[in-house]
Amino acid sequence: MAPASQALLKESRRYQAGGEYPQAAASIERALRIEPRQPLLWLELGQIRLREGNRAQAESMARKALSLASGDATLESQALELIARARE
């Protein structure tokens, strides 16, 4: 991940820890405009959406992450796990 995205991911995690999900999502979206093919960012956004209770978008984001995983097994299993949790 590019340092710019990393910094924004860190910022997002800080917001998430404080329960400020809209800001947390905004940081990830900012990162996605810089690095739109970074599956970790889509996955992170999916996780935020799930915490916000938006199951449909959580699953969509996980699928998007999956489509960009290019064979990264860890990431794929994380994405599949998110899909499963979104469907619980």
């Binding site: 340092p3 710019a4 940081s27 978008q57 969509s60 489509s67 064979g71």
Partner: protein
């Protein structure tokens, strides 16, 4: 005592006269009172209407700078210039920068973003041949990211073309209001709307030669004149003006009146655009916000008040300078400036930036889309009065690029095709490739001509732009691959209407069996119709709908050749879903809406929905790259930077009425439409009309080439472009395209691949590709 008789004998009977006079006076008073009441109502209504008028301010996207950003030093400087950053040797104040070669040092401006306030930041940006190579903070350590303040692009008004930057009192420098009072109206704080002392002083001053001409009108009277009155100089108008000024003063505080004046007064002309208010004038003359102006610049604006045409600093710099210096003298005389500061200011050039062409870009067709998106959630009153701040996705560089290339391209087409100048028009839409951001909209070649926004409102048949949806529907069934073959031969269809339909290829040739890859790349009609009929027109219609058209098109056979009317924006939606690997997200121009205090009211949440199978989209897109290698767009390769991989599709409607091209790089999707407003045939195919314009726009992006992330379920394989067989490169035209895992290709008879299914050859080819 005079006798009654004498009185009667006299010619003047006093009592009736008195009564008459009394009645006359009474009547006049009544008329006067009625007049005043009417005036009063008018004055109050107008002022209230304007005073609270804080139209929504619209901003382009903020530029995010980071190491690795593909942006040239010149483009970066252009952004800073557009933002009105001033160039100095030692950038210390916010909104300033220095440049040495490819190294920029700058201090950003603070800005209230939707995710919080961004404080000013000092940074150094270093550029290399590929873009930003380093970004460091004031202590020399690496900065991960630097967000500039977003360029202001305009206000939302009900009336087209009116433009203003409305400033609240706290954004108006005191030096400006003090100077205005000293120069225009010294008794402002005391008078009741008109100033008899001012009039006397003005008469005196006008007698004395050489002295600065004193205005007889108070600021309040000037404000009234700007609000209500024409510029004719009659006594009745003068009286009306004075009465209205007194009424205004009776109702409102001095500070409110002064603030209204600052936002209202006429200060210049940019073409057909009147420049009202100091906020907009500051942008117009200096390209910077009012709060950042130096005393010399404030003095110049105050000088211009007296006569925006006579003291136009661009046309009459000498006259303007003389008056500016007089204003500076007064500023020193009244202790607004120290004598040293005034002397320094006098030595400075006017500092007016060049042509009005560099003035904050005015994008009526993009703003049109912004307005439409906002209309769903906000009523007019909010937009016009609530001081909202609208953050958009506009990329001013790409917007300007698209506007220019479209206008040039249409003019060139008219010239080379010997068409009447102005007979063609067009539209461009540019979006992000993975994020659904509308970054540019060009609604026609002449943006000053308000009205028809072709990018949003021209619904036109899309022709072959529909074909990727046909092929996607087919590949999603799993019954076809890009190496499968279709028959390119005459075809006659009996329609439900009883009529017969016999579509033809564009070149009226027949090729026998062709691969799907070839049929799509070369946009062959007959194989496409056969494929679509086999898959089912209903499936094609739902695929198109799922990619993003507003309605499902009628599932008729003619749909397979693009008999469906879409706007350029809808086409962009469809192709954005392809570019993003089969995920649909509603395209948006607006990113966030903030209230006057900077609190986020609404944010466009990034959302995506799976529109198609990513593996099938991956295969379609690979064939769309072949459009440039072997297909209908190969002629445009030379217009693109060498080696830039792009994917796209031509589209032509019946009788050459509409010429389309839609395609994408790794970073952006662009759609170009060319046609005539009266729907007359243009003689242009997608390849001859829209494509060269598209290619010249995309060449200016500086984007990364299209390079999709590999998806699971497909593997790149070599096969013969014509037959779809595995073959030897010596006797076949091999292409390497994705096929579903496990696809077994039969060997081409008489041209069998050597060394086990072409594997050895593939390895060698891979090395060279």
């Amino acid at each position: 005592m005079p006798s009654p008789k004498r009185r009667r004998a006299g010619a003047l009977p006093l009592r009736p006269l008195l009564a008459l006079a009394g009645a006359l006076v009474l009547a006049s008073l009544v008329v006067l009172a009625a007049w005043l009441v009417a005036l009063d109502r008018q004055v109050v209504r107008q002022f209230e209407g304007r005073r609270w008028n804080l139209p929504a301010q619209v901003y382009a996207r903020p530029l995010e700078v980071y190491a690795g950003l593909r942006l040239g030093a010149e483009e970066f400087q252009a952004e800073l210039t557009a933002l009105g950053y001033s160039r100095t040797d030692q950038p210390r104040s916010q909104g300033s920068y220095s440049r040495g070669g490819t190294r920029f040092r700058l201090v950003t401006r603070p800005f209230q973003f939707w995710d919080g306030r961004q404080e000013p930041q000092a940074a150094t940006v270093l550029f290399g041949p590929g873009g930003v190579t380093a970004l460091t903070g004031p202590d020399g350590s690496d900065l991960p990211l630097l967000r500039l303040d977003p360029p202001f692009i305009g206000n939302i008004f009900t009336v087209h073309g009116e433009d203003r930057v409305v400033l609240p009192p706290d954004q108006v420098p005191k030096l400006l209001t003090d100077t205005l009072k000293v120069v225009e109206d010294r008794d402002f704080d005391e008078h009741i709307g008109v100033s008899f002392r001012g009039i006397a002083r003005a008469m005196l001053a006008n007698v004395r030669a050489g002295s600065i001409e004193q205005g007889a009108s108070t600021l309040t009277q000037q404000l009234v004149r700007s609000y209500f009155l024409s510029n004719e100089r009659t006594l009745s108008r003068k009286l009306r003006e004075a009465a209205m000024a007194i009424l205004l003063e009776a109702h409102f505080e001095k500070d409110d009146l002064l603030n209204a004046y600052v936002n209202e007064i006429y200060l210049g002309q940019a073409g057909d655009r009147a420049i009202h208010g100091f906020g907009l004038a500051s942008q117009f003359y200096f390209g910077r916000p009012l709060t950042e102006l130096e005393p010399a610049e404030i003095a110049l604006l105050v000088a211009v008040v007296r006569g925006p045409s006579l003291y136009d600093p661009r046309r009459n710099p000498e006259t303007a300078r003389k008056r500016r210096d007089l204003v500076l003298d007064l500023m020193a005389e009244f202790s607004l400036l120290t004598p040293e500061a005034a002397a320094k200011a006098r030595s400075q050039p006017l500092g007016v930036r060049g042509k009005a062409s560099t003035f904050a870009s005015y994008n009526p067709t993009f703003m049109d889309r912004v307005r439409r998106e906002l209309r769903d959630d906000y009523d007019d009153d909010d937009l016009l009065n609530a001081g909202l701040r609208i953050m958009t996705n506009l990329d001013p560089r790409l917007q300007a690029l698209a506007e220019r290339r479209l206008a040039e391209g249409l003019a060139e087409l008219e010239k080379t095709r010997r068409k009447q100048a102005g007979s063609l028009d067009g539209a461009v839409v540019i979006t992000g490739s993975q994020t659904p951001d509308i970054v540019a909209i060009v609604g026609g070649r002449n943006l000053r001509m308000q009205g028809f926004n072709r990018a949003l409102d021209a619904k036109r048949p899309i022709g072959s732009l529909v074909k990727p949806a046909v092929f996607l529907a087919a590949l999603q069934t799993g019954q076809f691959t890009l190496a499968s073959t279709l028959l390119d031969a005459p075809l006659t269809l009996k329609l439900d209407t009883g009529k017969e339909w016999a579509p033809e290829n564009y070149d009226r040739q027949y090729r026998g069996d062709v691969t799907l890859a070839r049929a799509l790349a070369e946009s062959l009609n007959l194989p496409t119709v056969r494929l679509g009929l086999e898959v089912g027109t209903r499936k094609v219609a739902t695929t198109l709908r799922s990619l993003g058209t507003e309605k499902a098109p009628p599932a008729l056979p003619s749909l397979l050749l693009g008999a469906v009317d879409l706007t350029p924006l809808e086409v962009a939606q469809v192709y954005q879903s392809l570019a993003s690997g089969g995920f649909r997200a509603p395209l948006k121009a607006v990113r966030a809406v903030l209230d006057a205090e900077g609190k986020a009211l609404a944010r466009t949440q990034l959302s995506v929905d799976r529109a198609a199978d990513p593996a099938a989209v991956y295969q379609v897109n690979a064939a769309l790259v072949e459009v440039f290698e072997r297909g209908t767009a190969r002629g445009a390769k030379g217009l693109l930077p060498a080696g830039l991989v792009v994917a796209g599709k031509t589209g032509t409607s019946n009788d050459l009425r509409d010429s389309w091209f839609a395609g994408f790089t790794n970073d952006h999707v662009a759609v170009v439409w060319v046609g005539a407003d009266d729907n007359r045939p243009t003689g242009l195919s997608g390849a001859s009309g829209a494509l060269p314009i598209w290619a010249r726009i995309v060449a200016g992006f500086g984007d990364n080439g299209y390079e999709p992330v590999p998806v699971t379920g497909v593997t790149e394989q070599w096969f013969d472009y014509d037959t779809g067989f595995a073959a030897d490169p010596g006797c076949a035209d091999l292409v390497r395209l994705p096929l579903p895992d496990g696809t077994e290709l039969p060997p081409k008879p008489g041209c069998e691949p050597r060394a086990g299914g072409g594997g050895g050859m593939n390895w060698l080819r891979d090395l060279f590709n």
